[in-house]
Symmetry: C3
Subunit: 438 residues, 3 copies
């Protein structure tokens, strides 16, 4: 994953444009990705898809013709979506367009101005301090004109039409944790799952932030109720502990699956209630959709000093943290895939597990005992209303042990699976395409 | 307020009589007050209005004719409602009728005997210790005969017939925190609100404790369901932290509004569940009425040593604490007046606040950000079921910021007010009179 | 109780056999006990009643003919339910059949093999270490053949057919806390209650563990819904603090009565949620029955080192702890017997308690005040839905004070008892026999 991040790092992405397209193309080399284009000016709910922005070069030259700020050295140097500019001006005139971080004098900040026409440069505090009074040549060789907004979509077909949604934003330029880590993780999860037989259909969305998810929701409104569970993926490559922000529903299955997995995998983690601030969960959890979509990050946005600065670079994300994040996400998907509801077919008193070989006869290994305890919990609580995740939560036993016990009991005809009455019926609408469709 | 307390302090009040009448008359000079008289012997639910008690003088004279206990020096010296008495007796005979506080030797206790005919004197422990054996002349120049019980009522008409009730007891003689502070605070709140345009009608009851609220409830039973929220007001002038005792309903709007205001105004405060012990909330919250009436005090009754003693005097209550209490009560009333429920008219994804000037374009001031966050919370949770107070509680943002954000959003047609389905319909019965009616 | 434990201690009990029968016979000398026999081979739900096991003697003799392990010295020396055995063998061959506790070298462990045919000896680690290589004579003079499984049942008839169930296991040989303490306690409770007039019928079950409760449930299925409350009784004689394990329902009346009593009786105790591991609550709380049966112990099973070893002997249980346990159980039964629901006949405002002599007139003793407070709580909350236990919980006042206040108020026609709508109707089925029936 770290190598893929390094491959994508130099590309100058934005919410539209060729850098975004190039990024999606490279993801598409690894997984079956459908790349969609939404024309500028398209109305998507209350928003309008903006004109397409592209940039070739940008700089500030001093009186000696030296580039004192140079887009070629870092695409963060230009305020993202800056309108074309070519002028000479005195430092005093230029100053309102310069952004730096006095508290981190060696870092370049990341700034955008998508919906207000503007231009500017971001530079380190040290660069700013070295700029003397005088006349500067300012050039932003960008274009902002009608075109389209791109986004990528990968759907892995499962046995059911019901879907698990994973969504990340792909609009940030050279920033690694936010969100090349999320892009890489989702790509690798999709690649991994594409080799498995799945219960749920899994949909992976690679979207420009905000406008991308709004456009996608606007274009897929009729099938939205297929989404049973979802996660917004971002900031998964740093060393921070995991932070799960619940969906607006607060007690959806995803809101319980993630904390369950974390409680059995991480010594320390945080679970926060939903708030309408953050990434694209803001749109998925808007009251008109209210999807069961949470957000799982390591250090959350705004909560690490490198956030939205040049210090969120290739050294800030590490292969080991990416791998640990992948493990957690796969465990969560495993819980969702295998969470079922059973009814005990021998509900009056315990069945005699011993005569079925499901009970240690004498003494016994710890593993054996745990399995037996898991079996007793499954039998006791399986009255057709409690799911395996409910049982795992109440017993304090990890989901996999509960799930394995249930499988063994079902194989001995002691359990029968029942439909989970708490879940919505699948909509009758068209299912997502098979991987080959993309 | 402190001056008004000082004006009322010398008057000898009781649950009936001229001192009570005089007190109501002085309140009536400041706010439109209807003074009601309930004849002695009137049955009010399980109780009977007692005979009217008045007192001119009382003393204990020693053998030298010196008044060793003198009603003229403090009206606390006589057990309130003492029957007339004129006798000479030995100290031993007198002793069972003398009450003092050994643990506070300079304080006079406050005692009453409303419903059992009795007489007695209260005196300091030092006075008691100086009384030598011998013959004393005892005189209580009181009358206890048919008359009436007085109470005062002020109603400020609002746009709605639904009412907010404020109630205090007015029966205590020279005691300041309990409850001249409550009388003064309610008078000043009524005076202040009378100059505003109000949503709710506001009813202020100045009642003799227990029998007064029982009589009022008995005489106003048919209109009782107009009362949507209420507070019993007492002990609001001392330096203690605020104590809110919830209504019997425990989760009424008032039970959430008061803690919300306190949590944003006071560094420390207490919220207690309802208990059937205290002031007139006992009657408002009896199971046959079960009104949403809580009790907001600073130091609660029984919880400060000066309670029901002569030490609850003019120095015990301070102008600054009275002013702070007034601020809290007005903030609570503000929450109730402005708590509304909206439905988001753009529920699918966020509306674009920027194009409406509701979003900082770049960077931005803290205030701007807070307002924006308040707007996002209001939009996200306004699905027709959550009130602004619900949103303030869940977001942790102060009610006023939420309310202002909602007003701005409603002005841009992003919200529509809906009736709060959780509230009772107003009763069709006659509304309270306009202020001029009183 | 300790004497009764000492009387039963030497008997070699098991889940069937003459030791069990003898134990029941001795219980039957103290209380009216019906002794039932279930033939071997009887199908009880998923289980089959096993063949009957009896044992006369067992030993391991060394080459000198000395009994190095001797059943006559402790019945724990033989694995319970060992099949008959007579052989000579080398130590190496014998070893897999020997069980000891290295961490407690002077204690004999307690082992069973009910449902797998096997044999073995339990001995102290010191005994084991003294056994030298060589040939040993091994004898287990037991029989395992068709017969029956015995259990005892005592029913004290109350005014109602609804029942309180107390159940203990009677299958352990010379072990005192687990569960001669439970046997003795239940016997003494039954003896005590048999002299009282009861509201509920009280059923006492003395059962072989697991198979006994399964057999009883299987044979009494049609009357099972008469059981309104129940406790499994075990480990009630040691010095540990009380541990209450809730029923599977988690909020049944018994699940609130026990913590209420403990909170007013014990400085420290634990309440645990139900888990499907432990004693016969596993069967009573299987999903097909889901009875309101909890488990009240002092140190719970597995939680004291002496558990299932010879150190659980006559010195481990003490008369004072047994007496304290009895007090707690009787208090719990008292709560259940007297828990009622009333409706306040004077619901509008408080009734005047003073004129009925229910109110201290002046000052007053602490007891008087507490009673008065209890009366106010009962009046305030008795709206036909809150039971006296609800009121005791919410007020923090001990059940008896609440119950006494309710009785006084009812005597003054201020309360009327109403049926508790939350309780199931009694089943129309045959009531349990009167004591004389047994």
């Amino acid at each position: 994953m770290h190598e893929f991040i390094a491959e994508l790092y130099p590309i100058c992405r934005s919410i539209t444009g060729d850098g975004l397209r190039e990024t999606l193309k490279r993801i598409g080399k690894r997984i079956p990705l459908e790349i969609n284009e939404v024309p500028s000016g398209t109305q998507v709910f209350d928003w309008t898809v903006p004109r397409e922005w592209n940039i070739r070069d940008a700089y500030i030259k001093d009186q000696h013709g030296r580039r004192v700020v140079d887009f070629m050295r870092s695409n963060l140097h230009v305020v993202n979506y800056s309108v074309p500019m070519k002028a000479t001006m005195a430092l005093a005139e230029l100053m309102p367009h310069l952004h730096s971080l006095p508290e981190h004098p060696d870092w370049i900040p990341y700034r955008t101005s998508y919906y207000t026409e503007n231009w500017g440069f971001c530079l380190t505090q040290r660069q700013l301090e070295q700029m003397r009074d005088g006349i500067y040549e300012v050039c932003i060789d960008s274009t902002l004109k009608d075109g389209s907004m791109s986004y990528g979509e990968c759907c892995l077909k499962g046995r059911e039409d019901s879907e698990i949604l994973l969504s990340c934003h792909v609009c940030h330029p050279s920033l690694c944790n936010d969100n090349l880590s999320g892009i890489a993780l989702m790509t690798f999860i999709a690649e991994y799952l594409s080799r498995l037989e799945l219960r749920y259909s899994h949909r992976f969305l690679f979207l420009p932030g905000t406008i991308g998810s709004i456009a996608w929701l606007s274009r897929n409104e009729e099938n939205i109720d297929r989404i049973k569970h979802g996660l917004v993926v971002a900031c998964v490559g740093d060393s921070g502990e995991f932070n799960y922000k619940k969906s607006r529903r607060s007690n959806a299955e995803i809101d319980r699956a993630v904390p369950h997995v974390l409680s059995h995998s991480s010594p320390s983690f945080k679970v926060m209630e939903f708030s309408p601030y953050g990434y694209d969960e803001r749109q998925y959890c808007s009251p008109g959709f209210n999807l069961a979509v949470g957000s799982l990050t390591r250090s959350p946005n705004h909560c690490f000093p490198q956030y939205h600065t040049s210090a969120d670079d290739l050294s800030f994300v590490r292969a080991e943290y990416l791998a640990e994040s992948m493990t957690i996400f796969l465990k969560v998907i495993n819980v969702l895939e295998n969470n079922r509801t059973y009814v005990n077919l021998n509900p009056k008193c315990e069945p005699q597990l011993g005569k079925r070989g499901l009970y240690r006869s004498e003494g016994g290994k710890i593993d054996g005992q745990l399995h037996e305890l898991a079996a007793l919990w499954v039998l006791n609580l399986s009255d057709g209303s409690a799911s395996l995740l409910d049982i795992a939560e109440r017993s304090g036993i990890e989901f996999n042990a509960i799930s394995n016990a249930a499988a063994a009991l079902a194989a001995h005809d002691l359990l029968r699976e029942v439909p989970d009455s708490s879940k919505n019926q699948n909509s009758p609408s068209r299912a997502c395409g098979a991987p080959g469709d993309a």
